[in-house]
């Protein structure tokens, strides 16, 4: 049933996307590990870790597209779920350091020793176990999304109001995690990781494995999101986006559907964060910054809202542009480029790269057919 669920109505675009991802999951690490650096097909480790990062962002974008593109919930706080997943992973990695920290304390992370903490706070218990940490990667963002969504959707907070309170949520978390008294390392966050599941985190092979895993998780996230979207539930959710009260008068409990999608999406964002941390090597409260979450929205908008593949594509394209624009003579102009992107995409490419390309393609093929499904503005 699960396979059927995941693979029902697979279209060409999704198929190509999956093939690229799974192909990369296998070929890129192999090329990195086995081919000599002189080979034209060799993928250097720096490229590997850079693309690993992009793909984590892509998974975050897919999760946001699920709620925004299909359900019309513009979350300006998705970075919070991403960061919580990242912190859960970071806590595991911190505990893995063991007595190899600079102070050699076998229990307490360095930043606690340094600020005279006497014992491990209770919420750090259990994070030395990988399965527990992975559970938390899903559970913490999921639970927060569930509780938050339960309140918000039941009382029918929608549209702009919802966006603003999601922003308030991530802002509150930002302030909270900045506090050193919280026991999450304050502004410096969690860093100086040594190994993951016993493998050196900086080793080339580990990096390759993490890259591979990121590809696979992105593929899995895409499949789950797609499974949801094409199911009848997906149709209900899209119906909610287009005409919320009509859906309610059909007898659907709109709040529960929204809550389901929102929670699934938060868990997915948490996984993205968890994959991101070992590849980037640090997690700190700035990931909670509202600006980060808003930037995620633009990835989705650039790629094409309500297309899933587009969201992933948008995340990669924008972040690749960021890498490009923050070097060399263009260095001080990155914010102009990013800002301009926001304006241009909303004004001229409301359907994003993929949506626009598809519309052009469809027009060329069947000049008289109806335009493809157009995501109506979410109110």
């Amino acid at each position: 049933m699960i396979t059927r669920f995941l693979l029902q109505n697979m279209d060409k675009r999704g198929g190509i996307f999956l093939a690229i991802l799974l192909g990369s999951a296998v070929l890129v690490p192999l090329s990195n590990l086995l081919l000599p650096a002189s080979s034209p097909f060799h993928v250097p480790t720096s490229t590997l870790s850079l693309w690993g990062k992009y793909l984590c962002y892509a998974l975050l974008a897919v999760s946001l597209d699920l709620v925004w593109g299909y359900c019309g919930i513009l979350s300006l706080g998705h970075g919070a779920f991403f960061a919580l997943g990242g912190y859960a992973m970071g806590m595991y990695l911190m505990r893995q350091i063991g007595s190899r920290g600079v102070y050699g304390n076998p229990i307490l992370p360095d930043f606690m020793v340094f600020l005279n903490w006497q014992e491990l706070p209770w919420y750090w218990w259990g994070f030395s176990s990988f399965p527990f940490a992975m559970l938390m990667v899903l559970a913490v963002p999921g639970l927060l999304a569930f509780v938050f969504g339960w309140f918000a959707f039941r009382s029918r907070v929608t549209g702009v109001y919802l966006s603003i309170i999601t922003q308030a949520l991530t802002y509150a978390l930002l302030l909270a995690f900045f506090r050193n008294d919280m026991g999450f390392g304050g502004n410096n966050g969690l860093t100086d990781f040594k190994d993951i599941l016993g493998f050196n985190i900086q080793a080339q092979a580990t990096r390759a494995a993490l890259f591979s895993l990121t590809c696979i998780m992105l593929a899995a996230g895409f499949l789950i999101a797609r499974g949801i979207v094409v199911s009848k539930l997906g149709k209900v959710v899209t119906a909610i986006r287009d005409a919320e009260s009509r859906t309610r008068f059909l007898g659907y409990r709109v709040d529960r559907f929204k809550l389901f999608v929102f929670t699934v999406s938060a868990c997915m964002a948490g996984v993205a964060g968890a994959l991101y941390v070992p590849q980037v090597g640090i997690i700190n409260p700035s990931e909670f910054a509202p600006a980060n979450s808003i930037e995620t929205v633009i990835w989705v908008a650039v790629g094409g809202r309500g297309t899933l593949v587009g969201a992933a594509l948008g995340a990669v394209v924008v972040n690749w542009a960021k890498t490009l624009f923050t070097s060399g003579f263009m260095a001080p102009y990155w914010l102009f480029a990013l800002g301009g992107l926001f304006v241009v995409v909303t004004l001229f490419l409301p359907k994003g790269i993929l949506g626009t390309a598809e519309a052009i393609w469809a027009r060329r093929r069947k000049p008289d057919s109806t335009p493809a499904a157009e995501p109506a503005p979410a109110e």
């Binding site: 513009l74 938050f148 309140f151 918000a152 039941r154 009382s155 029918r156 907070v157 929608t158 549209g159 702009v160 109001y161 966006s163 603003i164 309170i165 922003q167 308030a168 949520l169 802002y171 509150a172 302030l175 909270a176 900045f178 506090r179 009260s245 509202p290 600006a291 808003i294 929205v297 633009i298 908008a301 001080p332 102009y333 914010l335 102009f336 990013l338 800002g339 301009g340 992107l341 926001f342 304006v343 995409v345 909303t346 004004l347 409301p350 503005p377 979410a378 109110e379």
Partner: protein
């Protein structure tokens, strides 16, 4: 303290007019002038001491000059630069023909500055100006120097000004409390005087009562302390309330433009904070121009900056509306994204144009300093900001309710098609409304430049708070914005002493999130079946 001590003793001598030989004055004066030229802080302090204690005829001139950085010293002697720009020999008081060549300004550090102030204060007990006498008595009150008691008591006998007299009595009481050999009866009286003064300093002075005082005295002391503490607690609550109102007025200023663009037009303007920033930078530019071309206008700089900021921010707002937002009506979330992009561009543009560092915006004299109102310390800049916020609000309300433009704005907001059919140029009204909201944000920028950084990041720090205020107050209702801002401001300040600044803010955010669940459309929301289309 020891310096102060000695100085006061010296003053006793001075006041008692103990005859000193002219020769010895000359001799000690030599030492003082040598020390002034030595470029050492301790020598400078000692020099002041000598000059004052030896009653050098130019002591006041020299000390005042030193205080203002107009005292020059070097191998060639010591000179005073007069306020008029001329130079005077410090020793003789005779005008010098030209600026002395080998002299540098005598440097001050906090210790020297304190010595100077003490000297000025001590000299001040005899000053003909009652305000200066009061200040001097206040200085004595803080020093509790027993050596000064005779002068203080002598001054009390001669004093006619009631304020100066009260200050002198308090100074006397402070000395009597701390002096070991005071009669208990005098101490009781002193405690009573301090109890009436009833502020933080009185409390500190009362606690200086020596430990060997009689039980009855200690009892009186304890009672007085309890009374003062009770009173202070009340004032502290009032002070907190004041801080809350002041924070609330800052929030109101930041949010009120948003209440127009978001509340009335339904446009989510994430670049709103940047409009505030543009207002602040306009203030900076206006002040720069004034500094360079018309320094005498400086106290008017803010008044001049206000219309300029309004026009600059308003014009940018209109440009944004015509260039971007008008294509996005009916798509609020897209507007949000586009305006966020605009905010990034504006920030970086300002960073490129003005540099990334903070810019200095000065405070005109009427906005500096503070005054006391009972137990409240009220700073002028905060007071003016509250007044300003109230004025802006009133003006905005008047524009919306009383002018034809306000009527048209409301008409367009409520029913665009109908308004259009009645001949209102809706596009023009949209642009003007957005321009008004942005212009008001620019005005807020002028005010915020007085209390916050003028940097490209200025706007970002207010945007979330502004949205909270508008959403909390209820969209589309200016009164709601006022109540929202004041509630958040006061709540924040009431929480701060208990929870700390950070936790207080977090708690407030959580409260707002929960509140919106209860009243999804804010405190003063429109109700009715038309709300949800």
């Amino acid at each position: 303290m020891s310096l102060f001590h000695r100085l006061k003793h010296a003053l006793v001598i001075l006041v008692a007019l103990v005859a000193a030989s002219v020769a010895s004055i000359a001799q000690t004066a030599d030492e003082a002038f040598t020390r002034l030229a030595a470029d050492s802080y301790s020598d400078t302090s000692r020099a002041i001491e000598i000059l004052v204690s030896s009653a050098h005829p130019n002591a006041a001139l020299i000390v005042e000059a030193l205080n203002d950085g107009r005292l020059l010293a070097g191998p060639g002697g010591v000179a005073v630069k007069t306020a008029a720009g001329g130079f005077v020999d410090a020793r003789t008081g005779q005008a010098l023909p030209a600026a002395p060549v080998d002299m540098k300004p005598v440097r001050l550090n906090n210790a020297v500055r304190r010595a100077v102030q003490a000297a000025l204060g001590g000299l001040g007990l005899l000053n003909p100006d009652p305000a200066k006498r009061t200040a001097a008595a206040e200085a004595v009150f803080k020093s509790r120097d027993a050596g000064l008691l005779p002068i203080v008591e002598a001054a009390i006998g001669k004093e006619t000004n009631p304020r100066a007299l009260a200050a002198l009595r308090q100074a006397q009481a402070a000395i009597l409390i701390a002096k070991p050999d005071t009669q208990p009866l005098d101490r009781f009286a002193a405690i009573e005087v301090l109890r009436e003064r009833a502020d933080q300093d009185a409390l500190a002075t009362l606690r200086a009562l020596p430990g060997d005082a009689t039980p009855a005295l200690k009892d009186a002391q304890a009672k007085a302390i309890a009374t003062i503490e009770g009173r202070l607690k009340l004032w502290a609550a009032a002070q907190n309330l004041w801080y809350g109102l002041s924070l609330g007025s800052v929030l109101l200023l930041a949010a009120i433009g948003l209440a127009i663009t978001f509340g009335v037009m339904g446009v989510i303007n994430m670049a709103h904070g940047e409009m505030v920033m543009l207002g602040a930078y306009t203030t900076f530019v206006v002040q720069e121009l004034i500094r360079n071309h018309a320094p005498w206008l400086f106290d008017w700089s803010l008044a001049i900056a206000l219309p300029a900021a309004f026009v600059v921010a308003g014009a940018v707002g209109i440009a944004i509306e015509r260039g971007v937002i008008r294509f996005l009506y009916g798509r609020p979330l897209e507007t949000l994204l586009a305006t966020w992009g605009i905010s990034l561009i504006l920030q970086q543009a300002v960073r490129t144009a003005f540099g990334p560092t903070n810019r200095e915006v000065g405070a005109p004299s009427f906005m500096s300093g503070a005054f006391e109102l009972g137990g409240l310390a009220i700073t002028y800049n905060r007071l003016w900001i509250i007044v300003f916020a109230a004025l802006v609000f009133a003006a905005l309300l008047a524009i919306l309710k009383l002018t034809p433009m306000g009527l048209q704005m409301r008409a367009v907001t409520q029913n665009r098609r109908m308004a259009s059919a009645m001949g209102i140029r809706t596009g023009r009204i949209d642009a003007l409304t957005f321009g008004l909201g942005s212009g008001v944000a620019g005005l807020a920028g002028v005010a915020l430049s007085q209390i916050d950084n003028v940097s490209p990041n200025l706007g970002q720090s207010y945007i979330i708070d502004s949205f909270m205020v508008v959403v909390f107050g209820g969209v589309g209702n200016l009164w709601g914005t006022v109540v929202g801002a004041m509630t958040l401001g006061v709540a924040n300040k009431l929480l701060e002493p208990y929870a700390g600044a950070v936790l207080g803010k977090i708690a407030l955010l959580v409260c707002i999130i929960l509140f919106i669940q209860k009243r999804p459309r804010g405190l003063f929301a429109l109700k009715g079946r038309a709300v949800e289309a």
